[in-house]
């Protein structure tokens, strides 16, 4: 298990404050928040690209400076303008040379040819966003990562390819039993595959809970359903909940003696609730 405790990092116009969370093997953790909330900063601290001012990262109880110290970390970000004048074959040959022992060429070919249907004679700059994500993901997976960190990789993908990539990620987390931390601002993606959600806003983690618990606790209810409730419950929901479009969102676990009425809230509703609450 990966434990992250009290990470702090201050930039001119942004502060990551006491970020703490856990990552479990075989689980996909969704790191969600608006642009500039601190998702990328957390990921960059975890892979050692940014040094935190304080805080601890530990793997199975052993403290490390970054995850790469003990684990083979796979990392794919949305920023994939890497050696864009080179062909995929040249770039993968370079990565293969560097990661000699870790690199599994058969696995790389499998992802490239069978899973992603990519021909490696194209230059990076000739690839669409989706193709780039697939290519860099194939390279990271060929290193047989023990932990996979993904920074907004699905942002620029069309819905069909997004689903395809999400299925692959889910398969990897489960089959290889590795922790996957995936940052995104697309709640639908995380709702599909995440086991746990970490919600970050303005550098502060506001929620860390399993998707199951979130669905148990947060509800949405429309005016019609609300009107059928008892006076006291209705007043509590109106008082503690927020109005989101045509319905109210509320945290049933945060209101004493309230019956769970309505339907489980969508992740986007929960995030709005947390943000506005």
């Amino acid at each position: 298990m990966i434990e992250v405790r009290n990470l702090n990092k201050t930039y001119k116009s942004f502060k990551l404050g006491n970020a703490s969370f856990d990552l479990e093997s075989g689980e996909i953790t969704g790191l969600i928040g608006v642009n500039g909330a601190g998702k990328s900063t957390i990921l960059r601290i975890l892979i050692g690209l940014v040094k935190s001012e304080s805080g601890e990262i530990s793997i199975d109880g052993n403290k490390v400076l970054d995850l790469g110290e003990k684990l083979r970390v796979g990392f794919v970000s949305q920023e994939l303008n890497i050696y864009s004048d080179q062909k995929m074959s040249a770039l993968s040959a370079f990565v293969k040379d560097i990661y000699r022992k870790q690199w599994n060429d058969g696995l790389f070919r499998h992802y490239m040819n069978d899973v992603f249907a990519l021909k490696d004679d194209l230059k990076i700059k000739e690839l669409s966003t989706g193709m780039r994500v697939k290519f860099f993901l194939a390279m990271e997976l060929a290193k047989k990562p023990e932990c996979l960190l993904l920074d907004e990789v699905t942002s620029g993908l069309d819905p069909m390819i997004r689903d395809e990539v999400l299925d692959i990620l889910q398969g990897i987390a489960q089959e290889d039993n590795i922790p996957v931390l995936m940052s995104s601002h697309i709640t639908e993606d995380l709702e599909k595959i995440a086991d746990k959600i970490i919600y970050i806003d303005s550098g502060r983690i506001l929620l860390e809970d399993s998707v199951e618990n979130i669905k148990k606790n947060y509800y949405r209810i429309n005016e019609e359903e609300l009107s059928k409730l008892g006076e006291e419950t209705r007043a509590l929901i109106l008082d503690k909940g927020i109005k989101q479009h045509q319905y109210y969102v509320y945290d049933a676990s945060g209101i004493e003696n309230v019956e769970k009425a309505g339907s489980p809230a969508l992740l986007s509703d929960v995030l709005s609730f947390l943000r506005r609450g």
Partner: protein
């Protein structure tokens, strides 16, 4: 892994390396046949551009945050990359200087590398170019590709002015007599210092 970085530099600048080979062979022949031992143009133009363009190509490709982060996550990081890049520069300088000396031997009547301190001067030029390109690397790591390339333009301008002064005035611009052992010792120390500086600069960028 250092070999991996070196292979990458060679592979990613392959087109420029072909141009460098053609340039050294053609320009070296034409310049030396035309100007004989006319010091500054020949000593400068052949090795300088043989390294400047392929090195610039590599720096340009690595002058983005995405590529920098990609490289920084790799094992043997800064040290492996700087040493590989130094070997790459060294190889290009050895090739271009070798072609230059070979042409001098073939095209200049009575040229003898072992006489009149010529070998010493070749060593001085070689070490000076290696030092310059290491400084260019440091400037690149500290700032950006454009700043690094601008140092090349400044170097060109300085050499051009010196060449003009030498040609149109009576000032005798020539290298003083030097002891080769001292030159090599000082050169190695300077280059070692510059390599350390380049590693530090590489580590510090975008940290």
């Amino acid at each position: 892994m250092m070999i991996g970085y070196l292979k990458k530099d060679i592979r990613f600048s392959a087109n420029w390396l072909i141009i460098v080979v053609v340039y050294c062979i053609v320009a070296g022949f034409l310049l030396i046949k035309e100007r004989g031992e006319s010091l500054y143009f020949i000593e400068f133009l052949i090795p300088f551009f043989a390294v400047y363009f392929p090195l610039g190509r590599l720096m340009n490709a690595e002058d983005s945050k995405d590529t920098r982060d990609f490289l920084r996550r790799m094992p043997q990081g800064a040290c492996g990359r700087v040493i590989a890049r130094t070997v790459y520069i060294l190889a290009l300088l050895v090739f271009s200087s070798g072609v230059k000396i070979l042409y001098k031997y073939l095209l200049i009547e009575g040229y003898d590398l072992m006489s009149e301190g010529k070998l010493e001067k070749e060593v001085v030029f070689f070490l000076a170019f290696l030092s310059y390109f290491l400084i260019q690397m440091i400037v690149f790591y500290k700032t950006s590709y454009h700043f690094a390339q601008n140092t090349g333009l400044i170097a060109c301008a300085v050499v051009f002015i010196i060449a003009l002064i030498g040609k149109y005035t009576s000032i005798n611009i020539s290298l003083p007599e030097v002891n080769i052992a001292v030159v090599i010792a000082v050169g190695v120390l300077v280059i070692a210092g510059l390599i350390v500086g380049a590693v530090k600069a590489e580590r510090s960028r975008s940290a």
